[in-house]
């Protein structure tokens, strides 16, 4: 109400004034403001203040999120003297790459990078393939007990993996799959600390957060138009072919999003890494054991003198930075897929 009245009055005020002499912008604004009973000035001040507050808040929060990265980086490029110099806080006096070299050596960086990429990639591909099939089945077919099985998907989302840890540990230590393995092999096999164990888990859509991917993909498939499939079916296209040739190409953005999540979360995961992938030297394990490795290596080199806290912290910072650089790079390149993923799925309960 007020707004409309205000602009109208302001307009008439302007046209009335424009006859005699050209008023400055400021005078014009004052005139309009007076005509609107101070409403114009009030809203403008409120808007500017609001924007200012938002900029301050966003800047502060962004800084808050990025600060650990800055801190880790400045720690990582400090030389030994800088670490012990109390006057050096953020910017090192003699920046050096020595920490990076040593961390690379301790983490066996290049070979673990290679094996991490291979393992994480294959695990993520397998998980997303399984989840896509399952999600499509849930979104497009009606079958008895469908609600029950979907409730099971929700169960996999909310059961913490630690709950079934003991059972998983023993089941993979003596892997038997209801007696099938003994039947073929003669005795159960040990799949702990093998990639195969985790691949089997992934193929069954039971890897890290797989319930969530099923949920997201199902939402996405449900929102896709049904007509496409129907016309494909009328043209004599089978179920599997419809899925592979009609539905999958349209779902590529969502599949990429889910794959990226699977890849990135698998990269840093500690639980399944501890159970299956520790021995393979994946990055998550290398990062979390770097502190100990450094302590041992340092003590060996310096006649059993342990390294100082600052040195350990600098080393861990370096290792973490090196370990997450690949996934940060992926995030920066494919940021759109992460940001749009949830929006695409139209998640709701």
């Amino acid at each position: 109400m007020t707004k409309f009245g205000a602009t109208k009055v302001a307009k008439t005020g302007k046209t009335g004034k424009s006859g005699d002499k050209k008023p400055s912008n400021f005078a014009k604004y004052r005139e309009r403001n007076r005509a609107s009973d101070g409403y114009l000035l009030r809203t403008d001040i409120r808007r500017v203040l609001g924007n200012f507050l938002m900029v301050v808040l966003l800047f502060g929060l962004c800084f808050l999120i990025l600060q650990p990265l800055f801190h880790q980086f400045s720690n990582a490029i400090m030389s030994r003297d800088d670490l012990f110099d109390p006057t050096v806080i953020t910017i090192p006096r003699q920046p050096s790459w020595a920490n990076f070299r040593q961390a690379a050596e301790l983490m066996n960086y290049w070979s673990s990078l290679f094996s991490t990429i291979v393992i994480t990639f294959s695990v993520a591909v397998l998980q997303i393939a399984a989840c896509t099939l399952v999600a499509y089945g849930f979104s497009r077919f009606n079958f008895p007990l469908k609600r029950f099985w979907f409730a099971c998907v929700i169960v996999t989302i909310i059961v913490p993996p630690h709950t079934i840890m003991a059972s998983m540990f023993l089941n993979f230590r003596f892997f038997d799959l209801f007696g099938f393995v003994s039947l073929i092999n003669g005795e159960p096999i040990n799949l702990l600390q093998t990639v195969q164990g985790y691949l089997i888990l992934s193929a069954g859509a039971m890897g890290l957060r797989n319930g969530l991917y099923i949920f997201m993909l199902r939402q996405y498939f449900r929102n896709m138009p049904k007509e496409l499939e129907e016309s494909a079916w009328v043209d004599g296209c089978g179920k599997l072919r419809t899925f592979a040739q009609i539905m999958l190409p349209d779902a590529v953005p969502m599949l990429v999003s889910c794959f990226l999540f699977a890849f990135v979360w698998q990269w840093t995961d500690g639980f399944y890494t501890g159970m299956f992938l520790q021995g393979q030297g994946v990055m998550a394990h290398q990062m979390s054991s770097l502190g100990e490795a450094f302590r041992v290596a340092y003590a060996n080199m310096n006649d059993a003198v342990p390294p100082s806290i600052a040195q350990i912290e600098a080393m861990i910072s370096t290792g973490v930075l090196m370990g997450i650089t690949p996934i940060i790079a992926i995030y920066l390149v494919a940021q759109r897929f992460f940001v749009e993923s949830i929006g695409q799925s139209g998640i709701k309960m």
Binding site: T2, N51, M54, L57, L61, C62, L64, I65, L66, A130, L133, V134, Y136, G137, F138, F141, N142, F143, W149, C152, V155, I157, V159, P160, H162, T163, I164, M165, A166, L170, N171, P188, L201, A203, G204, A205, M206, R222, V264, W265, T268, D269, G270, T273, G274, S288, G291, I316, V320, I324, I328, Y331, V339, I342, G343, S345, G346, I347, K348, M349
Partner: protein, 313 residues
């Protein structure tokens, strides 16, 4: 949804729907096998372990289960010095952090939904915690026992030292005094101190809220402002009801995510019992109690919130 009903199963008769059911089951077969073998059976076994003493026999490639009744649970709940304390601490902290996460992420999502220069960049930064706070990365520095010790020392020193925020905190607390208002101020101060934890835990939640906000059609807001609604009224009368289904999703996700984070004390305890000490029975009992606690909380919270949720369509 309407289309799904009228589509295939309806007019084509029995055979079609049977075929549909079979292909449906074929599609979800990986999940059924995976679920039965690696979730349902382990869950059943966990319950069994929780009431037993389990020993591993590596020579004969098998393990033995010896029924001990409530012994493990009794040990967990009455004898173990840490477990009950860790569990209650965890739940209390969750009760603090989860509401803060929900409010914070809704607030940030509303800010990020506005148009301003550099929005894509700011969004990218806010979702960075999805990576930075995942898996082993969270608390990687506190995992190192020595560093942890020093960190607590530094915190203690900071608590003693006078600084601006500390002064404001003292002032606010003395001004409001005891009672409800004082508790509220305490809560706000606690949350402000935890702002880093909260920001790092809200990446996905912001995404969910943003997705929800983008589904609200702008014409509703237009109509409201023509009627003279203020931004405050717009928020409570339009935005909030429209994103309320998302609140349910976000609360459930936050609770689960908070409970299974890597630096959770209970999780560490379970992991140590099982992976290092090979106390499979006792570890399972701990894990089971923990899971039941989560499930109960989720059930209650989910029930309450789903009563309050408003569905637009």
């Amino acid at each position: 949804m309407v289309k799904a009903k009228g589509g295939k199963s309806g007019k084509k008769g029995m055979t079609m729907s049977t075929k549909n059911a079979i292909s449906g089951y074929l599609f979800i077969l990986p999940f059924i096998i995976g679920f039965v073998a690696f979730m349902a059976y382990p869950l059943y076994q966990t319950v069994r372990f929780a009431f037993s003493f389990v020993t591993m026999d590596a020579v004969n490639n098998t393990f033995f289960i010896e029924w001990t009744g409530l012994e493990n649970l009794r040990r967990a709940l009455t004898i173990d010095p840490d477990f009950v304390r860790f569990l209650t601490e965890e739940i209390v902290q969750m009760a603090f952090v989860v509401p803060a996460i929900v409010i914070f992420s809704l607030f940030v999502a509303i800010m990020l939904n506005r148009k301003f220069p550099g929005r894509a960049f700011v969004r990218a930064i806010f979702f960075l915690p999805v990576i930075l706070a995942s898996g082993v990365l969270i608390g990687i520095e506190t995992n190192n026992s020595l560093l942890d010790m020093v960190a607590t020392q530094i915190q203690d020193q900071n608590a003693m030292r006078a600084n601006v925020t500390g002064f404001i905190e003292d002032l606010l607390i003395s001004a409001t005094g005891a009672g409800v208002m004082g508790d509220f101020v305490f809560y706000i101060l606690d949350i402000t101190n935890e702002i880093y934890t909260i920001a790092m835990a809200s990446g996905i939640q912001i995404l969910i809220f943003l997705a929800g906000l983008q589904t609200i059609s702008p014409s509703i807001f237009e109509a409201a402002s023509i009627e003279g609604a203020t931004a405050w009224e717009n928020f409570w009368k339009i935005t909030f009801p429209m994103v309320s289904p998302m609140i349910l999703v976000v609360v459930v996700y936050s609770i689960v995510d908070f409970m299974v984070r890597t630096d959770s004390e209970v999780m560490n305890m379970v992991e140590i019992q099982i992976m290092r000490l090979m106390n499979f029975g006792f570890g399972s009992a701990l894990a089971l109690v923990f899971f039941l606690a989560i499930a109960a909380i989720l059930g209650v919270v989910g029930f309450i919130i789903s009563r309050l949720v408003y569905y637009y369509d």
